[in-house]
Symmetry: C2
Amino acid sequence: MDPTATILDLHQLRRSCGSCALHELCLPGGITAEELIQLDATVRDKRTLDRGDTLYREGDSFGALYVVRSGSLKTFVQDEDGQMQILGFHLPGEIVGVDALASDRHMSQAEALERSSICELPYTRLQKVVAEVPALNRQLMRIISREVVEEHRHMVVMGKQPAQERLAIFLASLADRYNRLQRDGTRLTLTMSRSDIANYLGLVVETVSRVFTRMEEIGVLEVNRKAVRILQPEQLASLCGMNSRPDLQRKDAS
Amino acid sequence: MDPTATILDLHQLRRSCGSCALHELCLPGGITAEELIQLDATVRDKRTLDRGDTLYREGDSFGALYVVRSGSLKTFVQDEDGQMQILGFHLPGEIVGVDALASDRHMSQAEALERSSICELPYTRLQKVVAEVPALNRQLMRIISREVVEEHRHMVVMGKQPAQERLAIFLASLADRYNRLQRDGTRLTLTMSRSDIANYLGLVVETVSRVFTRMEEIGVLEVNRKAVRILQPEQLASLCGMNSRPDLQRKDAS
DNA sequence: CGCCGCCTTGATAACCGTCAATTCTAGTGG
DNA sequence: CCACTAGAATTGACGGTTATCAAGGCGGCG
C-alpha cells in the first residue's frame, strides 16, 4: 500500500549487524564492537522472501547458514510421496540451515510464511571469522544448541500429550518468543496456516480447530482468524501441564 | 566371566583417539595426524559407566561434551511430576551434551543403558583446540549437525505414524547405525527396556509389545527378549513407509 | 459479485491407551 | 539344585481421544 515501504525496507536491509535490532539475540550477542565488524563482512546479503518463497530445498548443496531478520519461516521435510512434517517455525533472531552441516546438503526445506528478510552467512566466510574470533564461535555454538533444546521441547510435546495441551504449549512458547523479541506476548499473529500448526503438533487440522474453539469458549483466548489474543496467560500456562494433575482437570467451576 | 576382561578394557580405555576404533566416526574424522595429537590432549578422561549410572543430570553446570566410546546411553528430560520423555539412544561415536551449550547448564539427563565408556571433552580445552584447528571445528559442527538431522527424523516418526511403522523405523534406524559401526545390522541387541522404546516412540509399552509380536508373526523379525534378529530387512523397510502407499499394505502374498 | 481455499463444525469409527491378569526371566536364598 | 520373588514383558478386554469423512461457513481475491 505505502509506496515508500519497499524503500524503507531496503534501507533496513542494509543496516549492519551492529545496528540490527536483533543485536542481542543473534550472533553478535556478547562480542565486542571490533569483532562485530568482522562479522558484518561475512554477511553476504540480506535476502527478502515473499510469502511462500523457498530459502532452500532438501538436497540443495550447502552454502550458508541463515538468520531470520524479520518475518517468519517454516522448515519441513517431505518424504517421497509428498507427506510433509513441519520441523519448526522460526522467528527473527533464529537460525536455520544447521542440518546441512553434516552432509553438505540441506536435509530439509525452508519456506517463508510471510514477507521476510534473511541474513545469509556464507559458511566458508563464517568459518574464517569464527576461527579468528573465538567468542563468535562460542556464540554460534550457543545458538545451534538453542535449536537443539527447542527441538527437545518439541519432542516432549509430540511424545504423549493430549491435543489441548499441545496447542497450549505451542501458544505459550510462541508468546515467550514474542516477549524475547519485545513484542506483546498476549497478541499473537499466526503466520502459519491451521494445517501447518496441526502438522507441527502431530494432529489433524480439525482437531486444532476444535481446540481453538474450546479455548475460546473457556475464555483463555480470543481467536480471530490469524490473530490470537491470550486473555488469561496463567490459565493457558496451567493448560500446558494439566493432564498430569488430575485435580486441575476441570476448569474454575469451583 | 573372563577375569582379564576388566584389564583389557582398561587398556582399551587408554588408547588414544588416533588408535580408536571410532576414528572415522568421531571427531577425528578427516583431520591430520598432527591435529589429532592436539585433540588427544583435550580428552580428559575416558570414564566408565555401569548400567543405570548417570553421566549428567538436568541442571548440572556444563563442563564437557561427551562421546560414546562403547556401550550405549539414553538421554531424556523429566518434568516436575516425574513424567519422562526419552530424547534419544546413543551408540558409539555419537556425541551427547550439546544441549548444554546454550545456557551453560545441561537441559537433559544422560544415563548408561549398559556398561559403557565415554570420552569426556572438557569444553574450555576443546574450544582452544578448535580455535587452532579449523578442520576440527568443522568436524565438531558436522557431528552436532548429525544430531540435529537425527532429531528431525525422529520428529517425522512422532508426527503422525502408526505404531507399527514407528517401531519399524526405529529398528531400521538402529540397524543402519549398527552397519556404520561395522556390526551385523541384522542382529540387534536392544539394551534399552521395552518401556524405554515405547516412551521414545510416543507409545505405551503394551503397544510396543504387541507390535513386536505381530512382526514376529509375519516373519519379519525373530524376537528373543533383548535380542532381535531381522529376518527380512526388505520387508522391514517396506513397513517403514507403508501407511502412505495403500497398495503395499499386504505383504508379498502374491 | 462469485469462485476458491481455508477454516469450522458434526457424526462415526479406529487405533491405541488404560486396566488387569498371566507368563517369563533374572536374581536370591534355602 | 530348586523354590521363591520382584520386575519386566506379554496378552486380553474395554473405552477414550482423536482421525476420518462429509458438509457448511467465512473471507480473500480476481
